[in-house]
Amino acid sequence: MKSRLLVIATFMLSMVWAHAVKAEELVVIVNPDMQGSMSHTDVARIFLGKSTQFPSGELAEPLDVDPSHPNYHVFAREVLNKSPSQLRAYWAKQIFTGRGLPPKSAKDEEELRTLVAENKRYLSYIDSAKKDDSVRAVLKIVD
């Protein structure tokens, strides 16, 4: 009886966990050496090329996930406040006015995490489930 309850409880917990993952909670990550937290606006400014510095004043460089990745859409909508087509039009404008280039991107979250863990300049975003101690979360983004 007890074991059956445990099975049900585990099952329910896993459902909750699965649901949490489905909600695609993203975290904005920086190198563990970087201090302080960041607001949506701080992060958006760096990803849109309007700022090249962390709030602390240190140099910041954004790393994006490939546009084919689902996280790209979530981040664009929740943080940059833009649809993918709006974001492309925005970058077309920035590029052809000589103001800036879109962030460099990596294919998967593991690569992003590794890059951020290795370089203090980098700022990126990954699934909260993929975050480990090699990086520090500065902002949570709930879909």
Partner: protein, 417 residues
């Protein structure tokens, strides 16, 4: 005609060559001082394939500036263009940007839109030196990149060629951006001059020169709002003499009436340009308005021109639906033939005749360019692929001066690569 074309081509090529040599020299210099830095090259392109047709060509006959020449047969060569931009990033602070555009309405002649060197002092302060685009309007910097805005072309009432004068300027500019609370403020300014060869109403190409041009532009934006305020002054525009004028002026000078001859010279025209833009973008709704005023003084044919538009729309996934109202009014203060007629009475009839005829021709030309026009446009943009947008527009154009109405249907595909 061919001779003229060859000479223009030669001029264009030599101009391009001297520019490239100068830029090349700068690049080499920078390369030698930055051999250790990682030099990166970025290339990006954009283009538009556009077609349109008016229901009759009466508007076109009246105002040749409209739509760069749409008429009542399907035209592919008005909005169609292809552009390419290269950025050579020499190090963290220095880059060279060049953009060339081939316009079908320009007989597919490649036009070097800009070539400039950027020096990034820090993340907030940039200096540009070289051939830059005059940032007269909110969309000036990316006027050719249809992909970056919802319309097929920004409202021609405001973004007309004769309003913008010369889009390129050789000089220096800076851009300073600074966050203030949730806002980003910016100051942009330029100083320089330009020279060009354009067709005037006499059907003849004439050299234009401007010097000591300067402008300052203030911007303020946040996630939703966008404001822009601009002021430019081109204190000294000189227009080369056309052949008929030249002959007449020489003759007048020879006869000891040099003063009258100099009155006919189109030199040191002063033009002031004011611009204001306001935009709001909230969730999937957006609206914006832009107003420009151009005052031409110290000219034989001074004029006062004002134009504005109001646009609004909504995004629904990959679709953008928009509506625009635009208006333009230009009045020439006809003060040209008056003084000439007075002075001509003192001249021998052999001079007075052609002089009065020329003055009248200039007046006729400027009265033809008197304009009062408004238009309504409804349009649809469909982002059907990640680098392509299909656009459809229907426009009702009313020429109120001549009491004419015309409808324009246009379709375009914008792309980036």
């Amino acid at each position: 005609m061919i001779k003229q074309a060859v000479s223009v081509m030669r001029k264009a090529c030599s101009g391009l060559l001297s520019w490239l040599c100068a830029m090349g020299g700068v690049v080499c210099l920078l390369f030698s001082s930055a051999v250790n830095a990682e030099v990166e090259w970025y290339g990006n392109g954009f283009g538009t394939l556009g077609a349109g047709v008016l229901n009759s060509n009466s508007i076109n006959e009246v105002n040749p500036f409209q739509h760069n020449g749409y008429d009542d047969s399907l035209q592919l060569d008005v909005d169609t263009r292809l552009g390419y931009q290269g950025i050579l990033q020499l190090d963290d602070q220095v880059s060279v940007t060049a953009q060339a555009v081939v316009q079908s309405s320009d007989d597919f002649e490649a036009d070097l839109e800009w070539v400039y060197l950027t020096y990034k002092v820090n993340g907030n302060l940039f200096f540009n030196v070289g051939r830059i685009r005059r940032p007269s309007y909110n969309y000036s910097d990316y006027l050719d990149v249809g992909y970056a805005y919802p319309w097929i072309r920004p409202p021609v009432e405001v973004y007309s060629r004769d309003l913008a004068f010369y889009d390129q300027v050789d000089g220096i500019s800076f851009l300073y951006e600074r966050p203030i609370g949730g806002w980003i403020s910016s100051v942009q300014a330029y100083y320089g001059g330009s020279s060009d060869n354009s067709e005037v109403s006499f059907g003849e190409n004439v050299d234009f020169k401007t010097r000591d041009d300067r402008g300052v532009f203030l911007g303020l934006e946040n996630d939703y709002w966008n404001f822009r305020l601009g002021y430019q002054v081109l204190p000294s525009i000189s227009v080369g003499r056309i052949e008929q004028g030249e002959a007449l002026i020489t003759a007048l000078e020879g006869a000891g009436f040099g003063d009258i001859g100099r009155d006919l010279d189109v030199e040191d025209i002063r033009t002031e340009f004011y611009e204001f833009f306001i935009g709001l973008d909230i969730n999937d709704w957006f609206c914006s308005a832009e107003y420009v005023r151009v005052l031409v003084s110290k000219s034989a044919a001074p004029n006062d021109e004002a134009a504005w538009y109001l646009t609004g729309g909504r995004r629904l996934g990959p679709l953008t639906l928009h509506y625009t109202y635009a208006e333009r009014e230009r009045e020439n203060e006809r003060r040209f033939s008056g003084p000439i007629r007075e002075q001509a009475s003192m001249l021998p009839p052999a001079f007075a005749g052609p002089l009065i005829a020329l003055a009248d021709a200039v007046d006729e030309g400027s009265s033809l360019s008197d304009t009062k026009q408004k238009s309504h446009t409804v349009g649809l943009r469909y982002d059907f692929d990640k680098a392509y947008a299909l656009k459809l527009e229907y426009q009702i154009i009313s020429d109120q001066k001549n009491d004419l109405t015309n409808n324009l249907v246009s379709v375009a595909v914008d792309f980036i690569f």
